[in-house]
Amino acid sequence: MSEVKDLEQMVLDGEMTITEFACAKVDGSLERMKERHPEMLWTMEIQKFMWDSYRDAKKNGKKLCFFGGSVPTEIIAAFDCLGFYMDTIPFRLSTNPNLTSKYIDEAEKYVSASMCGLDKVELGAWLSGAYGMEPDLFVYNSVPCDSSRVAYPAMEKIIGVPAFSFDHPFRRDERGAEYLADQIEDFIEFMEEHTGNKLDWDKLKYYMENANRNFELQKKCADLRKHKPCPLPGRLLVLNGTTNAVACYPEMGDLYEGELEAGQMMIDLGMGACPDEKYRVAMLQNMIWGHAKIMDWMEKAYNAVAVMDAFGFQGDIYYEHLDDRRDCLKTMGRKMQNNPMIHGASGPSRYHLELVEKIFEEYDPNVSMFLGHVGCKHTWASSKIITDMIQDKYGLPTLFVDLDAIDGRYKSGDEIKDQISEYFETVVMK
């Protein structure tokens, strides 16, 4: 713990960059895990892969392409560039409130306090010169929310590298898929211009095949959670949010292979994430990145496991005709629309409603929770529609907890636990 504090101080003093901090922190966690839980190493290896790749991108001759929102990462990879998902910074720092608060304060010199903490950290950290990475390109999308729609164009100007932006269609339909496919063609042109290379379809196929494998595995992991007792812990749902960053790399598949193996083993042993599963929790919003330990606590204290959440749950969209360019680009567009957070929050509320309904139909939860990040105003603004449906159709009252996924000053882990405890003891267990 003191080691992390020392590292934090170095970042605060400008002696260490966020990238170096993240790499050091991941290395530290891996070392501890090797000693205490070597069987769980697979959960950290993806982090190691990600952060080491970002740090060493230039050394490895890779152009670094920062991205925000959902973008076709397969294209970035096919041009031999390394995509860096900017939300990874606030995700990674969310357990270090000293750091997030510094960057949030820096951003709030310019933006309103109500702006999403993710965008504030990304912006504040860049303004503080703390990234430790220099992008060559920047690509972003007009999703997931108004905060990002304002933050990304501003960052485009501040970062000052060649940039490309997508206009995300509001609805998920054929028109939207065609619209995104057209824009992906424009993006390919942009990448060709700025990398000096032509698109190598075979390389793109490789990354599309990886993406297919990863999402197939993700689907299998999700299906395991339907089992009673649920074999996988709630914490892994939070980890699956990583998908956006490395969805087309084999390493993401390795994570899911590990998850699948662990889950299957638990089923074979007749065991669940909780020793005596009593409650299966549906998470309507689940952005407790700074307090993921709450999932473990809930499993121990109340025998309650989060079986599925409406953040990471994605269903299945696969590339089918890998030599059909238009078909692939349209699929890519549909996948962009189906990314975590974007799928349930960026369009009409009914998508979120359908997602939640699917969770209730397929995972048989008996507890409903909305652990809502205060920055996700669009999700909050449809929360009653969703929780009314749950009450009417499944007879379950929903617990609402407001929290800040990134800014630890907003609400402590203990306060969140307290609210969850009260709900279990006064409503669920009554």
């Binding site: 009914r350 205060v374 603004a381 449809s382």
Partner: protein, 377 residues
């Protein structure tokens, strides 16, 4: 002609009632990315929805939570109360809050069997060769929906005629704003906002007649001569002239704005070109014009517009009001603050709630700002 109705900025359902009594439809419009010309061509009365005077949006807050912008909540509140007496709502995804007004209204309408027409169209957030055709298709869907509920065919000719009518209103508002460039203009900021707001209370033809009468009489009006500083107001949806009154009572004359309920909803006329259909001209116009930061590629243009307006209207400073939880405007200062500083334009940022909370604090801060910029004159 008595043009007093132009200054009635409270929400009135009088025009809606009259319109509907003729067997015609009146639909609420959420956000200014829904072209009213199309409604006009269909014989539908478009009523841009606002929430002037709303002091309690608690029922809407139950639907939209306390984390939503209070303007959006108040619009939903008035809709829930039936304040407008409309046949339904047409929304665009102007900002996510506008979308959620639609979502909640649609859900309530459906589950309570209210039988209203609730339509949503998507408006792209960039102006490019890709986005205009997409928006045209969305507008075609709107046309189809309006044709279905009215039984009226919206022809190219009808659309052209409607564009011409709305263009006339735009030209008249331009003339109105020209008056505000005078050293002692004949109109205050409160009155100007009342005029732009009152458009939502009547058919456009009536509005045009009243505007003409006002402009005709403008020379007879008493000039504003007791101001201490000339100000521009920018920011989130502001539909309450009383907010401006607080500033003007402290000596800050508001002479221009970048507000979606102010001049930004009018601006330049739609140019109809011979080489394209009128719907494409409309779509092109609505995506190209600068209204608010919901468009991702207009920030620089918006900033330039603000700076140019400050110069043209001889402003001493800018009041940047942002509604709490309005993220579109909430982040605008990232680049704007420095730009204004670089060209020596003083700016003050104030947080706002629809219900006129913190109005005492606004008065204090506005007065201090006016004193500061007054000295610089």
């Amino acid at each position: 002609m008595d043009y007093g109705k132009l200054f009635e900025s409270d929400i009135s359902s009088e025009a809606v009632k009259k319109w509907r009594q003729q067997g015609k439809k009146a639909l609420g419009v959420i956000c200014c990315h829904v072209p009213e010309e199309i409604f006009h061509a269909a014989g539908v009365l478009p009523v841009r929805m606002r929430a002037t005077g709303c002091v309690d949006a608690s029922e809407a807050e139950m639907w939209m939570s306390s984390f939503s912008c209070s303007f959006a909540k108040s619009v939903l509140q008035y809709w829930l109360e039936g304040r407008y007496e409309l046949d339904g709502i047409v929304a665009s995804d102007g900002c996510i809050m506008a979308s959620r007004i639609y979502d909640n209204a649609e859900y309530i309408n459906r589950t309570r069997n209210k039988g209203q027409t609730i339509i949503q169209i998507a408006a792209p957030r960039k102006h490019t060769a890709r986005t205009v055709p997409f928006y045209v298709n969305e507008l075609r869907d709107l046309i189809e929906a309006l044709e279905e509920i009215t039984g009226e065919k919206i022809t190219e000719e009808k659309l052209k005629a409607s564009v011409e009518v709305y263009n006339e209103a735009r030209e008249l508002i331009k003339e109105l704003y020209e008056l505000r460039k005078e050293k002692n203009p004949v109109i205050s900021g409160v009155e100007a906002l009342q005029i732009t707001l009152s458009k939502t209370n009547m058919p456009i033809e009536e509005y045009i007649d009243l505007l003409k009468a006002f402009l005709e009489d403008a020379k007879n009006r008493k000039p504003q001569d007791s101001w201490r500083a000339r100000l521009m107001i920018i920011g989130s949806a502001l539909d309450d002239p009383e907010y401006l009154r607080v500033i003007e009572e402290k000596g800050g004359l508001i002479v221009t704005d970048a507000l979606c309920f102010g001049q930004m909803q009018f601006r330049e006329p739609i140019e109809m070109r011979d080489d394209e259909d009128v719907l494409t001209s409309i779509a092109d116009y609505y995506l190209k014009r600068v209204v608010c930061p919901r468009m991702m590629d207009v920030h620089e243009e918006l900033h330039d517009f603000i700076i140019q307006s400050v110069r043209e209207f001889s402003c001493d400073g800018v009041i940047y009001q942002r509604m709490q939880n309005c993220e579109c405007w909430g982040g605008e200062n990232i680049l704007l603050e420095k730009k204004l500083k670089d060209v020596g334009i003083p700016q003050i940022t104030v947080e706002r709630e629809q219900h006129m909370a913190n109005i005492g604090q606004l008065a204090v801060r506005a007065e201090a700002f006016i004193e500061m910029v007054e000295k610089e004159v």
